[in-house]
């Protein structure tokens, strides 16, 4: 069954605006990861946040984690056309099989 659920399913913004994507999950986790997929194939890892962390930054990316609400958000600041992609969250469940389970993704379009 799906562990992570991203919302919105699709998001369209103008270049320079911020983009926020959310992820909710169902079980206790060890960590949560965000990935990007450009149209095509491979996924690229963006950020990993552990269950005892609340916020993490990487360049224009900011990820928050609220374990009490079982949710995470990915913020992309000052978006660029090149940020157009699908973004997925994935969780590693605590205390069980440590497999990565993905949500369905948010399709982000940044218009120039």
């Amino acid at each position: 069954s799906q562990q992570g659920e991203e919302d919105p399913q699709a998001l369209s913004i103008q270049e320079g605006e911020n983009a926020t994507m959310n992820c909710s999950y169902k079980t206790s986790i060890n960590n949560l990861q965000w990935y990007r997929q450009n149209s095509g194939r491979g996924l690229v890892h963006l950020i990993l946040i552990r269950s005892n962390e609340r916020e993490k930054h990487s360049g224009r990316l900011r990820v928050t984690l609220d374990t009490s609400k079982k949710s995470s958000s990915l913020l992309i600041t000052a978006s660029r056309a090149a940020d157009t992609a699908s973004y997925f969250c994935a969780t590693v469940r605590a205390g069980g099989s440590e497999k990565l389970v993905f949500g369905k993704g948010t399709k982000l379009t940044v218009n120039p």
Binding site: N31, L43, S97, E98, K99, L100, V101, K104
Partner: protein, 112 residues
């Protein structure tokens, strides 16, 4: 190698034929995953290998699907008696235990 490689990159086959998809993970990564992604959809978990533990096969959609990982390294996903609904991109990823996943470029399977 520097990354995860998959072969072939594209495979076209006729309904009813068997196919084998190969994944070469990053050396030293103990975890290896197979996912399937249909056009515009999220990642569907298929199978997870972790070290010498029994694989988590809970995502395999039918007994036509099987996978092996030899010597804790290379993995082969086999689909027997392919059906048109098997058409998808098959993605392999490897990681340290519970850590950041690195994806291969995928194999696009088309069943005619």
């Amino acid at each position: 190698g520097a990354g995860v490689s998959q072969s072939p990159s594209n495979k076209v086959t006729e309904k009813g034929k068997d196919v084998e998809l190969r994944c070469d993970p990053i050396s030293g990564h103990t975890a290896l995953y197979w996912y399937r992604q249909s056009l515009g959809q999220g990642l569907e978990f298929l199978i997870y290998f972790q070290g010498n533990s029994a694989p988590d096969k809970s995502g395999l959609p039918s007994d036509r699907f099987s996978a092996e990982r030899t010597g804790g390294s290379v993995s082969t996903l086999t689909i027997q008696r392919t059906q048109q609904e098997d058409s998808a991109v098959y993605l392999c990823a490897s990681s340290p235990v519970g850590g950041q996943g690195t994806f291969g470029p995928g194999t696009r399977l088309t069943v005619l």
